[in-house]
Amino acid sequence: MKKKILLATTGSPASFGAARVAFEMARRYDAELLLFHVAGVPKKGFSYQEVSDVRSQEAVQVDEDYMAWVEEELKTTYAKQLEECKNSRIILANGLPHREILRAARSEDVDMIVMGAHSGDSSASYSKGYPGSTLQRVAKAAKCPVMTVHRESASYMGGFSHIVFATDFSKQSESAFKYALSMAKEYDCEMTLFHALDITSKVLAQSDIEDKLITLRKRLRDVYGPKMVDFKNFEVDVWEGNPYVEIVKIARERMADLIVLAHNTRELDPEQASMGSTLEQVILRANCPVVSVNRPDKV
């Protein structure tokens, strides 16, 4: 059971999808929700408290009135959700967003951070490319799993029931696997263990592809089967194609509520590992929340 969820939000429409999932999760699974907002980044070398307001981008002197106004704005924005989710708190901070989110996650010892992929700018051309820098930095350094909900359409609709765990058999995927399995057990979900055979770099004969699919399915069963122990509600599948496209497709096909994958599968040192390109694209395209697991802590 997730006991404490930190929802990092700008209060803008770009984070409404993340808010919907976080509030519903907290309500359904009886977790505490911390509604966390960074009111602005202090200017002039942090020498005095003037921030550029998140929404208007205007320079504002930070005082009690301003912070009370920001809190009131958040309460109005999330009025319905806050009313339904009794176990919630609003926390405000000033500073660099990623640093403050990580600081709050650490000091509150949260079990999960939920956030959108971008802050306020959700223009189509921008949001197609890559996740925002705050998410990149939070996901890289967070000790706990980070859930991203990029699209308002995210189909976490009232509880988890099917988790897709995507792996490339790397060492880093082990933590992601442990997390996916514990979620599946806890919420009584079906689970799909999935590997995407990357065929984008060279042209292969169809029989070669099908031979590889058979081998990889067996490998999935051999590697993860014994670790499932008494959990039987799973299947394995391997599809060929471009990995991020196939992960998004199988999640849609299985009507998954959650995709779990490793943060970066090549870089062994979590301190160095920036978000992998497959994860980036899955986050931006998936029709359900995506959890990236970077470290074995909190798994």
């Binding site: 409404f16 699209r151 308002e152 359409s153 189909s155 609709m157 009232g158 509880g159 029931s161 099917h162 849609r252 009507m255 029709n287």
Partner: protein
């Protein structure tokens, strides 16, 4: 024999409005007030079409639909999503249509007639 439509929605006003609308157009109807209640009813009544809300108290629409598709006898029942949630067309992509509340009754009846006659 009249075709049977199941209305799944937690809003009583919507269910009664839809039920009356379908009855006026010569269909039989059954109702369910959320996804979990709908499971039992759909197996017993075997409707020809389902109108489905997404956000409901216990079992949400997409989860109900997932369980429906796991039953070979029921998985081909056409679904019309009727919801106020944003981007509701992405929630159940195999639905024959997704309508946003408030919906147009003529448009709904046109889709129903096209789907089950």
């Amino acid at each position: 024999m009249a075709k049977k439509i199941m209305v799944v929605d937690d809003d009583k006003e919507i269910t009664s409005y839809l039920t009356q609308l379908f009855k006026d157009n010569g269909y039989e109807t059954v109702e369910a007030n959320d996804g979990s209640e709908a499971h039992d009813i759909v197996a017993k009544e075997k409707p020809d079409l389902i109108t489905l809300d997404l956000e409901m108290p216990n079992e949400w629409g997409p989860r109900f639909y997932r369980k429906l598709t796991q039953n070979p006898e029921l998985k081909k029942i056409p679904i019309i999503v009727i919801s106020g949630l944003p981007s509701n067309q992405y929630a159940i992509q195999k639905a024959v249509a997704s309508l946003t509340k408030p919906f147009d009754r003529d448009e709904l009846m046109k889709i129903v007639k096209q789907t089950i006659g």
